[in-house]
Symmetry: C2
Subunit: 620 residues, 2 copies
């Protein structure tokens, strides 16, 4: 008989309240002029090497000689130390409207440091992280930003804030990590009301943890990095790891209907959130308790996923937890081409052995990863040949312009991970896969977080770039990839843009009925009259190809305002009418006036006489 | 290298339209006066043995000598051949209202056989399968039933029907399998409008199947048994197996927010339904396509789960499919007591090896299963000793009044099932479990379908009985079980009911944060003035204990009208206000007037001067 002691079920109320933190969280370490942490930034050295400053990431603080040469080759453009597009943050910030009576009413229950009308504080709450927004704050301006930023400390303060805002005819915009890539936070230039951004990040307490029943109630402003740290104290994890994990918040994940990279093991956000507390125009939507799964009529919880600030403010949520896995292992597999990688995923999906994360990158993304390696033996000038040498010596038989690479994260009990590994590698072998090791796998997975800083680097060297994503049935996936790639090249040429477009894709999630696909798109924009409009036209063309290939409007980024003009293509008139009526019912005065996903019609983000409109559909 | 050929991904549009069936489905083989198929019924023989007529189930057409003696012992009441409570179905059926102009408008596009105002046809669409409803149609009457039953053949007919109903101020009630146990179909006696029941079951086509992307679009009136048969032709399954599988429909599962017994592998209904087409008061809610997973704003799909007929009529849904599993194996394990069974589930849940179905029954339910065995060696009189002999000889060391038994269904690839089996039995052993074989496991799982007929048997012999369920966090599960059991015994005694109450429970589902629990409750009711009211009082008391023990209002049965008076205990005022406003927005005229889950306030199912009210809260 197995001598491992049996696990018993403790009884009664097994939840407890963790000790309160000594002080409110500070976000001073976060950058306001670009992605991520203030201390972390890609900088090009005079020798052409790139260094990611700080020490936070696996590629931090080492010389990366190959990156700029590789980018230059890919973009057919002279990216380098001298050729700089110096940002001039902060831009001019629109004046705040004044509402003295409202502000006085807020001061009745908020401390001095809970309100701010500082221009850069307001600016930061007026945008997310689309390329257009970051370009705007670095090189142009935003047409409208919030008039006041409020930092509530508790649910009750949000309730009172909402009452005051309603009484004074103001508009409330919840703000979490500010990492959305949908222009969800961007304000209409026609918004005449006093706009209050509600920065939720001081509400980051774990209200209670129940380690036996593996649930916790967590305030909605808690960032992913905070949640990971707090839960780890108790040997627990939420398991939700979007790319933005460090900065995005629980409330933001709900509003965006987010997906985490380890969703195979832990589920997407709608699978993880059992219940939530929401301040709405009809009062507080909450429940005294919540069960593992329920059938209790139409549950307002269901309305909040993807609501993008339109319905109210989530102040806390009850989430499922998981034990920190007994075993975590990384892995990677090289495939001859993307088609083989896709077929591998297809077979893996029906095996019952899908690991926590499995992603397949195309050859460009593989090379991108190689270009991010410090080459210890040579200088920048040798980078290209060093890269070639790598392919020749290490990856025999694979064409570096065709291969694909899978990065793998296994989590679970030892037996579970053993089963998944042996099953997965057997399937990989059938598809011509060659094991490329755990070190490469770990590096590939962790690179996700460092790569997020690259966009800001390219901006500073005249390349505009952005990511976008979709989900698609298995049988249309390769077609979609190829159509998007070809359309981008065609559009890029037809529009007479400089150099060559940068395009790469990866297969990031598996589902029974298909996959999620993630793209990076960029081009060299020096001399281009309106880089943002040109980028938007390219992405718009790409989205047309996506929809024509059976892809979806978004897998996890959401709609916001950036994709609102496609809603008529993915919903029937009846569906749009119904959601409009529901928004009216939930929020009759449009108090929560983020105006996302088109419920109030098209949103003008720039004045009609400004050089471009919100959708920037300057293309076909 | 593994020589199994690799699985490739076919490309393009891989869906096809299955051939249309030769004729519309008939439901003549279904009983109208009780559960299930017309040919299947438990009948007590003069010798006291019970026979389940027909040949459909694993206990059909054999003498079951132990059942009635065992029931008699358990209930401390003389259940037997002579002591009968003969049903007198059909009861008087309320006259139909007349609406000649409306009916003429319907006849403009419907065939003669698509409309019926036959009393028993209307009666059947006016109730589900609560004990109260079945008791009413057998021994009493219903106060209000639909005035007309319409059988649409297509989505377009539902659209036209909805337009006509709205134009004439009628009320529409969708009807699927009629198997709900929430009084969801029961009409208020105060409903003055002309009520049309929309029987969806002729809409049972599989509209398309995509075997590559494992999706299908299926009309909402398709029953589970039809879906299983149709999909099996293509080696596919939906995997959704509620107890009511044979009779309930896809549309009903969505409206009820249903759960299937194999949800560990396939998911609950909200996990399985990717999209749906719904006829609402705002027009048709539908989408031109659907992806594996999407973030596309507030998706009206989310409103429909648990909507219980309040929001519109689902006409078809796109569902996920799975390959028919390579391997299916059954198993069973005996545990010393229910606590050990619970601890086994708790440990299993975190192993990554949870099989498609795992359920743990208490000792009474185990004995119930034994009492349903044909005893080939003896007559009815010997049943008791035969049963005792079984325990002595076969289940050494287990106390038959304390033990618990797990029935297991494994499905998947061979490797997956091997991994699950070995992991599970190792965990079971740690909790004192003893393997009891695949035959017992299969019998236990399949018995679910046969047992559903027992309630009608007990009614006919003066015992009123019903099931109810909940979900509960792990740490409160045993407490809940014991409190419900004890409260029922206490209430039964205090109310002076005859004999002893019948009570049994099983742990039916596992989730990270807890389990689902399913109960049977009954008592001998001969001489009781109002058995239905007494039963309702007992179940109401049980629900109070459930809520007080951290249990939920329902895991999968839903709310309907039977649990509406508890809604204030599980939702905040703000949540109830919000759902009321949303219902008004979605359906301003209450065209879909099923009036479930309290959105229009309490619903009177019987006239105030009738012997009892809808809630029958005659107890404390």
């Amino acid at each position: 008989m197995d001598k491992k002691p049996s696990l018993q079920v403790p009884t009664g109320d097994t939840s407890f309240v963790p000790p309160a933190p000594a002080h409110r969280p500070s976000f001073e370490d976060e950058a306001v002029d670009g992605w991520g942490f203030r201390d972390t930034k890609f900088v090009v050295q005079p020798n052409g090497s790139v260094v990611l400053t700080g020490t936070r990431y696996n590629i931090s603080n080492v010389e990366l000689p190959s990156l700029m040469p590789w980018f230059s080759k890919k973009l057919a453009a002279p990216l380098g130390y001298e050729n700089r597009n110096e940002p001039h943050y902060p831009p001019p910030v629109p004046e705040a409207l004044e509402a003295p009576a409202l502000v006085a009413a807020l001061r009745a229950f908020l401390q001095e440091d809970q309100l701010s009308d500082e221009p850069t504080v307001r600016l930061r709450r007026g945008h997310g992280h689309t390329g257009a927004e970051i370009w705007a704050i670095r090189y142009e301006r935003l047409g409208r930003v919030p008039d006041l930023v409020v930092f509530p400390h508790s649910h009750d303060e949000v309730v009172r804030l909402t009452e005051v805002a309603r009484a004074h005819g103001a508009c409330l915009i919840p703000f979490g990590g500010g990492t959305n890539v949908t222009e969800a936070l961007r304000l209409s230039v026609h918004e005449r009301r006093f706009v209050i951004a509600v920065d939720m990040r001081r509400m980051n307490r774990v209200l209670w943890v129940d380690p036996v029943n593996r649930t916790a109630s967590i305030e909605a402003g808690a960032t992913g990095r905070h949640i990971v740290t707090e839960l780890a104290r108790y040997g627990l994890t939420l398991g939700h790891e979007p790319d933005s994990l460090e900065f995005s918040t629980l409330g933001g994940w709900i509003a965006t209907n987010a997906s985490g990279m380890k969703k195979n093991r832990y589920g997407n956000i709608e699978d993880l959130v059992l219940d939530m507390r929401v301040v709405t125009a009809h009062g507080v939507v909450e429940r005294p308790g919540v069960g593992p799964r329920e059938s209790i009529g139409v549950n307002p919880r269901n309305f909040m996923f993807g609501s993008e600030g339109n319905y109210g403010i989530v102040t806390s949520a009850v989430v499922k937890l998981f034990p920190v896995p007994e075993v975590q292992r990384y892995g990677s597999v090289l495939f001859p081409d993307l088609g083989a990688g896709l077929a591998f995923l297809y077979e893996l999906q029906r095996s019952g052995a899908v690991p926590a994360s499995v992603r397949v990158m195309d050859s460009t993304q593989f090379q991108f990863g190689q270009a991010l390696k410090p080459v210890t033996t040579g200088a920048a000038a040798q980078a290209k040949s060093a890269l070639e040498k790598f392919f020749v010596t290490r990856v025999k038989g694979f064409d570096p312009d065709k291969l694909a690479v899978a990065t793998l994260v296994f989590e679970g009990t030892r037996a579970e991970v053993d089963f998944q590994e042996s099953t997965l590698y057997r399937i990989a072998e059938r598809h011509g896969g060659m094991k490329a090791g755990g070190t490469n796998g770990e590096r590939g997975y962790q690179l996700t977080f460092g790569i997020a800083y690259i966009r800001d680097l390219t901006f500073s060297h005249w390349a505009i770039a952005e990511s976008f994503e979709t989900s698609v049935p298995w049988s249309r996936a390769l077609e979609l990839y190829e159509r998007v790639r070809d359309r981008i090249h065609r559009e890029h040429a037809q529009r007479g843009l400089p150099g060559k477009p940068f395009f790469t894709g990866r297969l990031t999630q598996v589902y029974p009925s298909g996959i999620a696909m993630y793209f990076y798109l960029g081009f060299y924009a020096k001399g281009v009259a309106d880089p943002v409009a040109e980028y938007a036209a390219l992405e718009h063309a790409a989205r047309e190809e996506i929809l024509a290939s059976g892809g979806t409007l978004s897998h996890h980024h959401g709609v916001g305002k950036i994709r609102q003009d496609f809603l008529g293509e993915v919903y029937s008139e009846g569906a749009l009418a119904l959601t409009r009526e529901v928004k009216k019912a939930v929020d009759p005065d449009n108090l929560f006036g983020a105006n996302n996903h088109g419920v109030k019609g098209q949103v003008e983000l720039e004045a009609p006489d400004a050089p471009r409109t919100n959708t920037r559909r300057t293309g076909t």
